[in-house]
Amino acid sequence: MQEIEIENRVKLARVEKDLTQEQLADLVGVTRQTIGLIEVGKYNPTLKLCLMIAQATGKQLDDLFWIKGRKETK
């Protein structure tokens, strides 16, 4: 099985848009904790949430999230 490492630029995009975690969370309908975990790469959001974050920050999806690497796992 392959494990995919995903990286993101959500924090940068949020700061560029001058939004707090709380404000972005409200815009996309999740909790501040979820945004915090996404920013540090501890939670992989669904495609729906990725698109909503991209829309809220005015970015393209692949500017925000990309595959860093793949690891083989048992």
């Binding site: 709380e22 999740v30 909790t31 904790q33 979820t34 939670y43 959001p45 669904t46 729906k48």
Partner: protein
Amino acid sequence: MNNSFKLDERSERINGLISFCILMLTQVALGLLIAYKRYIQGLDTAFYGNFGVVLLISILSYWTIRLYLSGILPVISFRKLVLLYFILVVLIELSAFLISGMPEPGLWHEVLYPFIGVAVILGFYALVAYLGKRRIQKATGE
């Protein structure tokens, strides 16, 4: 600051994971309880039969719904199903005969159990596999 309690996709994912773990723990605990009552305490079925029914319903309904919703069970053709049915019945009847010999004349109906049991299990499998596949095909417009 917004302090209202909010359930988002992460909370729902955690809920699902916790529910799964607790369900598995409950099923294992019920199984252990039945084994304890039967083998350690040496009690009669009347003392733990209800737990067995609950455990069976829980395991069956969980896996049936899960396999139906995921639609991953391979659909076996009718010919293969019939072949599998006869192979399983022969194997079970043969091993039962080798272990316990022929049943007493008054208990002749025990010979029928593998016929009925295998038919129920394979029929159930075929139904879940077919309905699960049809559900996915409907959703994808195939």
